[in-house]
């Protein structure tokens, strides 16, 4: 699984050091260290049930980051700022469609994911046909989504999660793991398969590393890029449905907290924002790392101000480990 981040440009001083420099390995080591630190600060932090709870939170972040990851690998400054709005919208729509009834779960997922994919399609079409930079297109779309949320919230009640959905997200499902963790593992396998074993996956890397060359080689660049944004919208919507199951009912702008952190998770996972490289395994580790870090900061008794300062400073420190650009030499 760790082969996907093995692309290294250094001259390989020694195999051990190179192994330790892999983003996935760095992230895993940091996760262990943070768990140990958390346990030292407040005994019980690294208990099995606590770790499960962290993984549930991380899986929502990880599902948003899956779409973000695809868009970023696809290059051309690929980034999706609209995911925060789509998560919120999907949570509200799904809550209203199911409205507390188990029979409504499937239609709710269908509606939410289709709407998410539809907004992804708008993003993708604007970015490919009109050639609007992704940052601008998805930023503008975020504004539209936030406006749409206001309209929807005033018009219809916020909706409730069906019991089965809440159970799926929060209660043990198979082998003591909640269903959402199994869903996340399945998405992880799907992403690995998609990126490493399908023509579509190879083409994502191709357009991400050199769009011109990919186009010359006959890759349908535009179709693929639209597909990436559609997938990003769909993943964000799926995360929104899971979030609804986690919190029971949707409240205003629940998704906003996922917008930039989903990008951070990708970067901490070793996928550079320049695109063409990276994979999802690292991103999963990045999402877990982010969630553990946030959780430690809520465990220790410091003010909100101190918590934010430590969080910001730690993120900067983590980025110094990886994701740095190359120095300019003449």
């Amino acid at each position: 699984m760790s082969t996907e981040t093995a692309v290294s440009v250094t001259a390989a001083p020694s195999k051990a050091i190179e192994f330790l420099k892999r983003p996935l390995v760095v992230a895993l080591i940091l996760i262990m260290a943070l768990l140990a630190l958390g346990e030292a600060l407040s005994p019980g932090f690294a208990s099995a049930e606590q770790i499960l709870r962290l993984l549930v939170v991380a899986s929502v972040m990880g599902i948003v980051a899956a779409g973000q990851n695809l868009v970023i690998i696809g290059g051309r400054e690929g980034i999706d700022l609209s995911v925060g709005g789509i998560v919120s919208l999907a949570a509200i729509l799904a809550g209203n469609v199911m409205n507390g009834a188990d029979s409504g779960i499937l239609p709710a997922i269908l509606v939410a994911v289709s709407v998410g994919a539809l907004f992804g399609l708008f993003n993708g079409l604007g970015i490919t046909l009109l050639r609007i930079p992704p940052l601008v297109m998805t930023l503008g779309m975020l504004g539209v989504l936030q406006g749409l949320l206001v309209v929807i919230r005033n018009g219809i009640p916020s909706g409730r999660a069906a019991p089965a959905l809440s159970q799926f997200v929060t209660q043990p499902f198979i082998f003591g793991l909640p269903g959402i963790i199994w869903l996340w593992i399945a998405i992880g396998l799907f992403m690995a398969f998609l990126l490493k074993r399908t023509v579509f996956g190879y083409r994502i890397y191709a357009i991400g590393s050199n769009e011109q060359a990919a186009f010359m080689a006959g890759v349908p660049v535009k179709t693929i890029r639209v597909g990436l944004f559609v997938l990003s919208g769909a993943f964000a919507a799926l995360a929104g449905v899971c979030l609804l199951g986690y919190s029971g009912s949707s409240f205003s702008n629940v998704g906003e907290q996922y917008m930039l952190p989903s990008i951070i998770a990708v970067v901490l996972g070793g996928t550079p924002l320049a695109g063409g490289k990276g994979g999802y395994t690292g991103t999963m580790a990045g999402a877990v790392l982010l969630v553990i870090l946030q959780s430690i900061l809520t465990t220790v008794h410091i003010d909100e101000s101190g918590r934010q300062m430590v969080f910001g400073a730690t993120l900067l420190l983590l980025m110094l480990f990886y994701g740095r650009g190359r120095a300019m030499r003449g």
Binding site: E77, I79, L81, G126, L130, R131, I132, P133, L135, V136, M137, L139, G140, M141, L142, G143, V144, L145, Q146, G147, L148, V150, V151, N154, G155, L260, I263, I264, V267, P272, L273, D303, E304, S305, G306, R307, Q308, M309, V310, F311, G312, A313, L315, L316, M319, L320, G323, R324, G325, R326, A327, M328, G330
Partner: protein, 329 residues
């Protein structure tokens, strides 16, 4: 105020060469159309008082758009500008309260505020240009840090600004509202900056960093200077927003960051760097302000206002990019 590097080609069509020299012309047309529409739906919006009100509300966003422009020139981005605004806002509010709120203490507090903004800019510059972190994620991390600092300085919103401060900002001197003196002073500073070598150097770095490096430009230092200018103008934006809201709020700037990026794009600057004008960004910020007031004046039901604003800004962004690319191609 020509700030693009590419000189207009001799054989280009006249329209194209105008757009190349003045990339903010499409934005200016949108602005004029919006002013006309505002006047049509609410004639009083063209009165002197309304325009003064527009400026005193949106001067902060205009300055923040300017701040963002200087990093965009060299191909960078700063997602921490809003949090710098919040930090400077609470710093000056707390200092003015501590020092008694008299005339001199207000000025001293403002100076400390500006120094705070500069320090934030230096920190961002070192992180991104010096340590080569990716600008989007690194400035997001610094924005979390700055927000934390702001919450440390003033945990809850509400401390009022001393009367001397907001009375001055909202006051009228020799028949001219104070904000217009600020606008004039800012215009002079921006005019000088536009003629300085630094502006050309930042655009050169944004156009092709490697080429700039190979011609001997100190690329890292130039990018850091861009972030320092960004911090400076973010601090000035904070001074304006404090004059407008007359209180301290550790989260006041949070929502402004993305608007500042939108304003830069609306103004015809390329986010990829190398081409852009500060004038355009000022117009872009005014466009956002006028869209907001127009949506209100045409009688949009309140719950639909955000959606209509969002759609209008999206359409304006797309139109602006299509036109300015047509000019550059």
């Amino acid at each position: 105020m020509q700030q693009t590097l590419t000189s207009p080609a001799a054989n280009a069509s006249p329209l194209k060469s105008v757009l190349q020299r003045f990339p903010f012309v499409p934005a200016l047309i949108i602005l004029i159309a919006l002013v006309a529409l505002n006047g049509f739906f609410q004639p009083r919006s063209l009165s002197f008082g309304s325009i003064t009100g527009l400026f005193s509300t949106y001067l902060a966003l205009m300055l923040l758009a300017v701040a963002q422009t200087y990093v965009v020139f060299s191909g960078d981005i700063d997602l921490s500008v809003g949090s710098i605004v919040s930090l400077v806002n609470v710093v000056i509010i707390v200092l003015m309260e501590k020092w008694g709120g008299g005339g001199l203490t207000v000025i001293a507090a403002c100076l400390v505020g500006i120094l705070t903004g500069l320090a934030c800019g230096v920190a961002n510059g070192i992180m991104i240009a010096g340590l080569r972190l990716q600008a989007i994620v690194a400035t997001f991390a610094t924005s979390i840090f700055f927000t934390g600092l702001a919450l440390y300085v003033l945990p809850v919103a509400g401390t009022p600004a001393p009367e001397a401060y907001w009375m001055t900002y909202g006051g009228t001197y020799f028949g001219i509202p104070f904000v217009f003196y600020v606008v004039a002073a800012v215009a002079i500073v921006l005019g000088v900056l536009a003629r300085m070598r630094l502006t050309t150097q930042m655009l050169a770095v944004g156009d092709d960093a490697m080429a700039a490096f190979q011609t001997g430009l100190p690329v890292t230092l130039i990018r850091i200077k861009g972030y320092v200018l960004c911090g400076l103008f973010s601090a000035l934006a904070a001074l304006c927003i404090t004059g407008d809201t007359a209180s301290g709020d550790p989260l006041v700037g949070g929502k402004m960051t993305l608007y500042s990026v939108a304003a830069v794009v609306l103004g015809g600057s390329a986010l990829s760097g190398g081409a852009g004008t500060v004038t355009g960004s000022l117009i872009g910020a005014l466009i956002i302000g006028l869209i907001n007031s127009l949506v209100f004046f045409v009688g949009t039901p309140s719950e639909w206002q955000n959606l209509v604003q969002g759609l209008a800004i999206l359409v304006a962004l797309m139109a602006g990019i299509l036109v300015s690319r047509g000019a550059r191609a």
